[in-house]
């Protein structure tokens, strides 16, 4: 307790020097929590959006389907198994049929993924109910990104060309029946959604699908022959890898800030031992053991982190809460990388993040504070009390 009181008195006595170190350390606290909060917020938002728009409660892939190998797409379709049919009919799952196609907006050629989706599905947020066909028309849904890119609007007719199950070219016009806005580029960029039954008819694949997306209310078997179930851990692997790499990249910024603060603490400790040798000698001569003196100086150094925590809280908590409410605007084109990202990311500060950050900074500051003061244990108290440089 006496060490703590002495430490606080000494720190406050150091004035501006303590203030500067504490400010830099508090900025490190703030940056660590803020930057990790962004990544955690992004991760959380992306998961929510991806579940809503793309992955549902998991997906059953036709066994030949490999999203990383477009060559497999030609064979990645099969008749929807009996086990899924009830859920497909009542819309608890979304049956999707994929084929590659070419779109010609204003005579420009552009590769697309043409996707058939059950009109009555409720498993994902694609507004498939808007796919209402007028006589002879093929209604289509596209996302805002693709609409902007292809300069298409609701009511426009645009020509598409595709190959049927035998590889024969076919071409017709589709009518843009709706444009939806989503944070998930995987269902938007270069994607055109048409009713599943029309898709099955124009490709010559009656009753077939490439993928079944499980909805919240679906009761589906774990294993179905010819179909592989992909759960969330599999479907979010790419997102997790990206967030992890971004987190590591981001740690450089606050790492520099933390290193600067710790360097300042280290310097302060070295200077303290050099300038306060008489004080150290006096403590020892008054009966304090060397270990107690080392402890006193270590606590004094570590107290920077405690003070920084309070100072950081004064300006950090309101600022972090404000940013959590307002969100951070993502740079233009972030979603073009194919990873779900909303226009504004709402940072999410978990308890584990805050507690973890405090512990890491405290431990780092304590270790850095201890390192120079180890010298005290080798000091000769007589020389120290005389102020003789050792």
């Amino acid at each position: 307790m006496i060490a703590l009181k002495l430490a606080i008195r000494n720190l406050l006595g150091a004035g501006l020097r303590t203030f500067l170190i504490v400010i830099v350390l508090s900025v490190a606290y703030f940056l660590i929590i803020f930057m990790n909060g962004i990544y955690q917020g992004w991760d959380k938002q992306a998961r929510i959006e991806m579940i809503a728009w793309e992955v549902g409660e998991g997906q059953y892939w036709q066994e030949n389907f490999d999203p990383y190998d477009p060559v497999t797409l030609v064979d990645a379709h099969a008749v929807i198994p009996e086990a899924f049919k009830k859920d497909v009919e009542n819309g608890n799952v979304a049956a999707l049929l994929y084929t590659q196609a070419t779109i010609y907006p204003e005579g420009r050629m552009q590769g697309i993924m043409l996707k058939g989706i059950g009109v009555n599905q409720k498993a994902i947020a694609i507004p498939s109910a808007q796919l209402i066909a007028e006589e002879g028309d093929i209604p289509a849904l596209i996302g805002t990104r693709f609409a902007k890119n292809a300069k298409l609007e609701i009511g426009d007719y645009v020509l598409i060309r595709w190959r049927d199950v035998n590889g024969t070219f076919d071409a017709t016009e589709i009518k843009i029946a709706g444009i939806f806005s989503t944070a998930v580029p995987a269902v938007d960029a270069g994607q055109v959604w048409i009713p599943l039954d029309m898709m099955q008819r124009i490709t010559g694949m009656p009753g077939e699908a490439t993928m079944i997306v499980k909805g919240r209310d679906a009761e589906m078997p774990a294993d179905v022959a010819g179909w592989e179930f992909k759960d969330h851990s599999y479907l979010f692997a790419a997102l997790e890898a990206l967030i992890q790499s971004k987190t590591i990249g981001g740690s450089v910024f606050y790492g520099i800030m933390l290193a600067l603060a710790l360097l300042a603490v280290f310097d302060t400790q070295v200077l303290s031992i050099f300038r306060r040798q008489r004080e150290i000698g006096t403590y020892i001569s008054m009966g304090m053991t060397r270990r107690e003196v080392v402890g006193l100086f270590t606590v004094e150094g570590a107290m920077h982190a405690v003070l920084a925590l309070f100072v950081g809280a004064i300006y950090g908590i309101p600022l972090l809460l404000y940013l959590q409410n307002k969100g951070i605007g993502m740079p233009e084109g972030t979603d073009e990388f194919g990873i779900a990202a909303a226009e504004r990311i709402m940072p999410y500060y978990s308890v584990a993040l805050i507690v973890g950050t405090v512990i890491v900074v405290m431990i780092a500051t304590t270790i850095i504070s201890y390192m120079p003061v180890r010298k005290i244990s080798k000091m000769n108290p007589n020389d120290a009390i005389r102020g003789k440089i050792q």
Partner: protein, 242 residues
């Protein structure tokens, strides 16, 4: 009565002179195909705003093996494309890498032209996949032509229907139209500057046009062509790409 008889006889003689669709395709094949071929050509790609010219030379063995090397412009120089049966590879000197063109990449256009890679892979053996019928005759580019309509007789064809305008003297197609299942015209090819090379008639210029795309199409100009040349074995192998 005599007039009617003469007219009928004339019609009968005309009908007997008209070859069948299959015969016409066989004659085209006879005229145009060879065991081996060397070709130096220019491809003029007309974009919406500008045009660019790509020079190349190629060596081909039958329909199954062909190597094309791009000579200009500087950006494309050294790029090589190898077709072996149903596989296609491209070597790019700027990246020093060889990639196999497959899947959706086959649908991309070749160097921005109106030709896709899969058009280049198209099996020219039409008689095995199409029923050819002569549906009429027409003067096209001041030449008398048979109009041959080809309807797919097997499922696995790229185009459900093709229409050919074939010079009825030289047995060379002067125009071809490719149709989708829906009947929509997808591509048009026009062959002009027909020249006599050895015992064959061969086009000096071919214009490809993707009818769904804007633009004036792609011109393919033959600068030099030699038939039945000696092609070293290694030239039509993956080793020749680097």
């Amino acid at each position: 009565m005599i007039r009617i008889t003469v007219a009928l006889l004339l019609m009968a003689s005309m009908l007997s002179a008209q070859p069948t669709g299959k015969e016409i395709l066989d004659r085209i094949d006879e005229n145009m195909s060879s065991d081996t071929r060397y070709l130096k050509s220019k491809m003029v790609i007309h974009g919406p705003r500008t045009s660019r010219t790509i020079e190349s030379e190629s060596w081909a063995k039958g329909d199954q093996a062909a190597l094309t090397e791009y000579l200009s412009p500087a950006r494309e120089k050294g790029t090589k494309m190898l077709k072996l049966e149903d596989k296609l590879w491209i070597f790019s000197p700027s990246t020093d890498r060889t990639i196999q063109i497959s899947g959706h990449m086959l649908r991309q256009s070749v160097m921005g032209s109106d030709l896709s890679y899969e058009d280049m892979m198209d099996d020219p053996n039409l008689t095995s996949k199409y029923d050819a019928v002569v549906v009429g005759s027409e003067t096209y580019n001041e030449r008398e032509c048979w109009i041959v309509e080809m309807h797919a007789k097997v499922d696995d064809v790229a185009y459900q229907m093709r229409k050919l305008w074939v010079d009825n003297e030289r047995y060379i197609p002067l125009k071809e139209e490719l149709y989708a299942k829906s009947g929509k015209l997808l591509k048009k090819t026009e062959l002009t500057d027909i020249k006599r090379i050895d015992s064959r008639w061969y086009p000096g210029k071919i214009v490809f046009k993707d009818m769904l795309k804007k633009g004036a199409g792609t011109e393919f100009i033959v600068d030099e062509i030699r038939f039945n040349v000696d092609i070293p074995e290694h030239l039509l192998s993956k080793a020749a790409l680097r």
